[in-house]
């Protein structure tokens, strides 16, 4: 069974994605920030990492670059809130919205999903990365 890591600082989003993926038959682990995500990967390298981009201190793009360097095999799906960074995100160093989507793709994310995405889009994206 494929193993997917979901990294997002929004706990509700993680929970929802986890449930959907588990219902689709995947094993899902969650992390609330990039650092926790890297720990989880170190413990058990997943097949696919689904990561948010705008996260405090280390934002998603940075995580993707690290994953690309250390675990080239892991496939990455980037999901973003769209909209801009900004005060509500309290993440002073977050970068601006669509710019970082392009940056994520450039950093190595094969699939980009903008929140709120449909269940079917998520499943389809995963299935594109894990055909088997």
């Amino acid at each position: 069974m494929a193993n997917i890591l979901v990294v997002d600082d929004e706990v509700e989003v993680c929970e929802a994605v986890r449930r959907v993926l588990e219902r689709a038959g995947y094993a899902v682990t969650v992390a609330s920030n990039a650092a926790a995500g890297l720990d989880a990967v170190a413990r058990l390298p997943p097949d696919v990492v689904v990561t948010d981009i705008i996260m405090p201190r280390v934002h998603g793009v940075e995580l993707i670059k690290i994953l690309r360097e250390r675990y080239p095999r892991i496939r990455v799906i980037a999901i973003s809130g769209g909209g801009s960074f900004g005060p509500l995100a309290y993440k002073p160093d977050a970068i601006s919205t669509h710019a970082y989507l392009a940056a994520a793709r450039e950093a190595g994310a094969e699939e980009i999903l903008t929140k709120p995405f449909d269940l079917t889009d998520l499943i389809a994206a995963v299935r594109r990365l894990l055909p088997n």
Partner: protein, 504 residues
């Protein structure tokens, strides 16, 4: 007006009358005395000459038939017209003229002056030698005609005096009218000017020099007044214009700030909204899969999913709107350009008691990003600065400089340009500094500002990959430092640090 003319006229005539009263009587007495003396002197002179001639003739009479010749002599004297008494006393005899003269009683003594003894007759006696004895010839001359001449002359003098008095009174009346008239006109003109009609030219035209001078000064004053009025109204208009412009600018700034805020808000809200919508959408679809198709519950779920989809597309439209509005293509521009533009704008609206100083090196200091955003940053920081110094005035200093590896934790090494805005205002204490960048945080009154200014600045600086810090001590002032990465020649979309972009 009438009162002025009358009071002047009365006073002038009063003065003239006083002078006349002082002058006329002595003048009259003096002149009439001269007149009387003139006539009297001539009368006495002629009677002395005439009586002397008669006496000489009497002396020349020879002795024979003396009496007859003497009487003939007396007759010729009486016939001469002015003699009213003629008598010759020869020892005990007295001879008289044969022509009867009205009886005149001769006084004991001779007259020596006209009008002596008041008997209207001038008696003169000549002692004539007649051989061994002397004879007295006595003549009396009638003073009446001369007295009448004198009386007539004195009447003439009186008439002349009266005419003189009348003439001088007439002159006084005329003079007061001549003097009063220009005064009256001056008074009217002055009142007209006072009541606002300042454009009527003052020209009284009077022969009297003082009145002319008064007119000249009044006219100059009026012209100055008119000039002063115009100057004042011009100044007021200018003031209003500048006030208008300032308000306009402030409103535009506020408007712009609000728009930017909406943009940021939209961005922020959208971002948060999307995060919230994601579980809603996922769970609704998850439950829809669990629920049999025809079930009313499925219908409800489908309505929820549809609503979620509509919400997503709405948010997407808002995002594209705010992105469009703010995000221009990032370009490389010299940092000092937007700074100078902003300062020029600020000099218009900052009150004069605040001095604005710009210290910038000559190099262009190129940065990558949106110049209008930097313009926005400078405006916000400076507005906050001059608000802090509004009451007490002070100095607002903006400095630009290049810094290699600034020791700011959040910045990676490299060349940065620092924009510092420092003011000499009342400063902020630590509690305020902690929340200064949080949105909706403001120390100002409700309605004076949205409290989003600094958070917007923070957003812009971050989007340009820079960082903003603040130092402040209460009572001496505050300094904001904005570090922006120096733009290098490569393409813009390179390392995240150089991200440019929308938002705010």
């Amino acid at each position: 007006m009438e009162r002025l003319v009358n009071s002047l006229r009365v006073r002038l005539i009063g003065v003239v009358l006083v002078i006349l009263a002082a002058l006329v009587p002595p003048l009259y007495l003096g002149v009439s005395a001269i007149v009387r003396e003139g006539y009297a002197e001539r009368f006495v002179n002629s009677l002395r000459g005439y009586s002397r001639l008669v006496a000489d003739e009497l002396e020349a009479l020879d002795e024979s038939d003396f009496d007859r010749h003497a009487v003939a002599l007396l007759d010729s004297a009486v016939l001469s017209g002015q003699v009213v008494f003629a008598e010759i006393r020869d020892r005990s005899r007295t001879l008289h003229s044969s022509i009867a003269t009205q009886s005149v009683n001769a006084p004991a003594r001779d007259d020596f002056h006209f009008g002596d003894q008041g008997d209207q007759v001038y008696f003169i006696t000549h002692t004539v030698n007649r051989g061994d004895h002397s004879v007295a010839l006595r003549l009396g001359f009638d003073e009446l005609p001369t007295l009448e001449q004198i009386a007539a002359a004195e009447r003439h003098v009186l008439i002349a005096m009266a005419a003189f008095v009348a003439a001088s009174i007439a002159v006084a009346v005329w003079l007061s009218w001549v003097i009063a008239r220009p005064m009256v006109r001056l008074q009217e003109a002055a009142q007209r000017v006072a009541s606002g009609d300042t454009h009527a030219q003052l020209n009284v035209g009077s022969s009297i020099r003082e009145v002319q001078e008064l007119n000249y000064h009044l006219e100059r004053m009026r012209r100055e007044l008119v000039g002063a009025n115009e100057h004042l109204s011009r100044e007021i208009r200018e003031r209003e214009v500048s006030e208008q412009k300032r308000l306009d600018l402030e409103r535009r700034l506020l408007h712009r700030e609000r728009i930017a805020t909406i943009g940021t808000l939209a961005g922020g809200v959208a971002h948060e909204f999307n995060n919230i919508m994601t579980p809603i959408l996922l769970y609704s679809q998850l439950v829809l899969d669990e629920v049999p198709a025809g079930d009313t519950l499925a219908d409800y779920l489908r309505r929820v999913i549809a609503a979620a989809h509509r919400a997503r597309s709405l948010v997407m439209r808002i995002l594209t709107f705010s992105r469009e509005m703010d995000s221009q293509q990032p370009t490389v521009f010299p940092l000092r350009v937007p700074v100078e533009e902003a300062l020029a704008l600020l000099r218009e609206i900052v009150p004069t008691n605040i001095e604005i100083v710009l210290a910038a090196p000559d190099e262009p200091l190129p940065v990558l990003g949106d110049a209008s955003l930097v313009h926005q940053v400078v405006i916000n920081l400076c507005t906050n600065a001059y608000e802090a110094m509004r009451r007490s005035g002070g100095r607002l200093t903006v400095t630009l400089a290049a810094v290699e590896n600034p020791d700011e934790p959040q910045l990676r090494a490299g060349l940065y340009y620092v924009l510092q805005v420092s003011d000499t205002g009342h400063g902020m204490d630590q509690t305020v500094l902690a929340h200064i960048f949080e949105p909706f945080f403001t120390t100002r009154m409700v309605g004076e500002g949205t409290g989003l200014g600094l958070s917007v600045v923070h957003g812009i600086v971050s989007s340009m990959g820079g960082v903003i810090t603040v130092r402040s001590t209460v009572g001496s002032g505050t300094t904001f430092s904005v570090y922006l990465p120096a733009a290098t020649a490569q393409a813009p979309a390179q390392a995240p640090a150089t991200a440019a972009g929308a938002g705010a």
